[in-house]
Amino acid sequence: MKDPDRPEGPQGSEGPRGVRGVKEAKGAGAPGRRRRPVAALAPYLMVLPGWLWLAAFFITPVLVMLSLSLQTGDFIDGFRQTFHFRTYADAVGTYHVQLLRSLLYGAAATVCCLLIGYPVAYWIAFRAGRHKSVFLFLLLLPFFVSFVIRTQSWNVVLADNGVVLGPLKHLGLLPDDFHVLATAYAVIGGLTYNFLPFMVLPVYVALERVDPKLIEAATDLYAGRLAAFVRVVLPLSLPGVFAGVLLTFVPASADYVNAGILGGPSTTMIGNIIQTEYFTNLDYPGAAALSFALMGTLLIAVFVYARALGTEDVLEVTAR
């Protein structure tokens, strides 16, 4: 193998670099497809059907939603394209509280997932030994049960006088009117519960790739266990954390099922509003504008986060 960058062993699971390496070597810099025009078309023919589907049912819908958000009118008499940008200002003005709350809940759930999930990923990666796959499997078990049923189960478990709170109240450990359901804590807890595996798995994958010998090297160089963790393991796991944060934050912020099932009087999230606007009020432009506002806000949040963390550094670290 001429390519010096080609990783060996488990790291080979990364990407198709090896493939390219060979093709490049063969074609001596010039793409091989020039010699075999039919073969050159092959990747395009392979990508085309799926690409068309995504173009029709992912790209186009987003553009149509953009168009819809700039229409005015009403349901009975129809909507017309008027490029009425005020809709955005109105929608965001009316619902900025719910929009911010969604980001807040999403961020809170993400932090909880990270705090709860990192040690778990760490333990599985370094200490689970032969049982690694057992734990990974356990981690995935919740996905075999419908997300709606799992969320509703918490209504049973956490009922005001249910199996958990009932006995505690009976013993006088909690005041009688204490409740978890119908609060922001219940919603954030539900989000944390539902998205925890999305944090643990990427962090685990990153930690798994850390060579234990590196830690040993650090300790050989008289670093304490903590210092070895902070200076070696943690930086190496950051890409996993980065992926985990995004995989948790984006869907958690946009979720509305947890707020709908576990929430209370002031836990409405932006997803609930978008749903109401589409289905109850039939205000399609407003609903479309809110969806875009949500996507835009999330995009900005992700961008700011990437900048704050220094994506370049992260990439550098990964590359090593």
């Binding site: 670099r17 953009l66 129809g78 995935l140 009922a159 595996p197």
Partner: protein
């Protein structure tokens, strides 16, 4: 919700060395797409833009008014329509009689099939008017029909929309003799459908307060009790602008049907006061019933039938029409204009007004029966029944919640009928309360 079956599946593949010139999977970093890629995406977007710039057409239809126009519309619709021996019926959940031994069997429907030869496909698919309207409207608009010949619609703004959009068939009253004969006067000719041009009542009900006396510890008599600090955090309200607004109008002493936008603002103020005092545990039509039965709620807005049904599964709840008044609403049978079997649907409509049929339905659903004569039938059934069943039927036949007394009836008010502009104003006032 994505489901990673293997660590590498649901999550982006881990990153490794980056070759400088190869655009590749970057995990979730949307930064740094190749410039050419972006350019291409932009070109693609521009190419697709014209497709996106199309409008959603309106669908307003002329609504027949006046006896002559209605008669003509009826003739136009029913001419040449024949019985087909089939009927597809869409209803709310648990809103028809059911065999106690097998909840999936509905004796009155089976009897209808036996006597007319019309086979019924009965589906309880309607969760609420809003979502059903949202689901069926595009099918109406496309003209292809919704696959149902009979559906139940509440007496709210969605019924108005169905009528304005021309979705409902005008009823041929010459084929509804039982409705003419047995239909209660109080249920005919309502403000939402004068002359019953498009609808006949299916069941009526009241919105009032349901509560658990053991928890509350006293009798609830007034809407103001929902501001009682003793119930802080234990009150259930709804995320339903129609019901919430009308209830709050009652609470501030206005008659919903004749209320003005000024009254609406006062009513919204009342609801805000309730919310800001921390009275309300949740605004949810989806969870109040189970929460009330679990004891997570002590008092809640409820429909009259909810309490009956909960008590049958062992709860000990009470229903009260507050002294300021309760809401009377009516769910209606109507025939979609696109129905494939309208004559069969009309036959069923009339059948449902036979007192013995109405009685059977009431014995299960326990809402207000639009057929006063059903009361005697239920009393007779009670006399013929034994044990627990007998007590239930007897209490039904004498219950003011099923056959309201005149005193109760005088406390009941109807929902405000809203036009498009009013509805916007109404929603802007009441939605923010529960969408905080």
């Amino acid at each position: 919700m994505p489901l990673p079956l293997s660590p590498g599946a649901g999550t982006p593949p881990p990153r490794g060395p980056v070759l400088p010139d190869t655009p590749r999977w970057r995990g979730p970093t949307p930064g740094r797409p190749s410039r050419r890629g972006l350019l291409r995406a932009a070109v693609g977007a521009a190419a697709l833009a014209p497709l996106a710039a199309c409008s959603v057409p309106g669908a307003r239809k002329h609504v027949p008014t006046g006896a002559a126009e209605v008669a003509a519309a009826v003739r136009d619709f029913w001419d040449g329509k024949r019985k087909t021996g089939k009927l597809d019926f869409a209803n709310y959940t648990q809103y028809i009689d059911a065999d106690p031994a097998d909840q999936s069997r509905h004796p009155t429907l089976e009897a209808f099939t036996r006597s007319t030869g019309i086979r019924i496909t009965y589906n309880e698919l309607i969760d609420d008017d809003a979502s059903w309207f949202g689901k069926t409207q595009p099918e109406f608009a496309s003209g292809q029909g919704i696959g149902y010949d009979l559906m139940v619609v509440g007496s709210d703004s969605y019924l108005t929309k169905y009528i304005e959009l021309g979705c409902l068939a005008p009823l041929d009253h010459s084929r509804l003799p039982n409705f003419a004969r047995y239909g209660g006067a109080a249920f005919k000719n309502s403000s939402f459908d004068r002359g019953n041009v498009h609808t006949v009542p299916w069941q009526s009900g009241m919105t009032g307060i349901g509560y658990d006396p053991a928890k509350v510890g006293r009798k609830i008599t007034s809407w103001q009790d929902l501001l009682d600090p003793g119930l802080r955090g234990k009150v259930g309200m709804w995320n339903d602008a129609v019901q919430m607004g009308n209830v709050a109008l009652l609470a501030v002493g206005a008659d919903p049907e004749t209320s003005t936008p000024d009254d609406w603002r006062r009513a919204a103020g009342w609801l805000r006061k309730q919310r800001d005092a921390g009275m309300v545990r949740s605004y949810s039509t989806a969870t109040y019933q189970s929460a009330l039965q679990r004891g997570d709620l002590w008092a809640s807005l409820v429909y009259s039938g909810d309490v009956f049904q909960a008590n049958q599964s062992g709860s000990k709840l009470e229903f009260v029409i507050p002294e300021e008044g309760g809401l009377l609403w009516t769910d209606n049978l109507c025939i979609p204009a696109t129905a494939a079997h309208p004559v069969d649907a009309l036959a069923y409509m009339d059948y449902a007004y036979r007192p013995e049929v109405a009685a059977k339905i009431t014995e299960t659903v326990q809402f207000i029966c639009p057929v006063p004569a059903a009361r005697d039938v239920i009393a007779r059934d009670a006399a013929a029944a034994t044990g627990e069943r007998r007590a239930v039927l007897r209490s039904l036949s004498t219950s003011p919640l099923v056959f309201p007394s005149e005193a109760d009836e005088s406390k009941l008010r109807r929902l405000r009928v809203l036009d498009q502009a009013e509805e916007k104003q109404w929603n802007a006032l009441f939605e923010p309360i529960y969408q905080a």
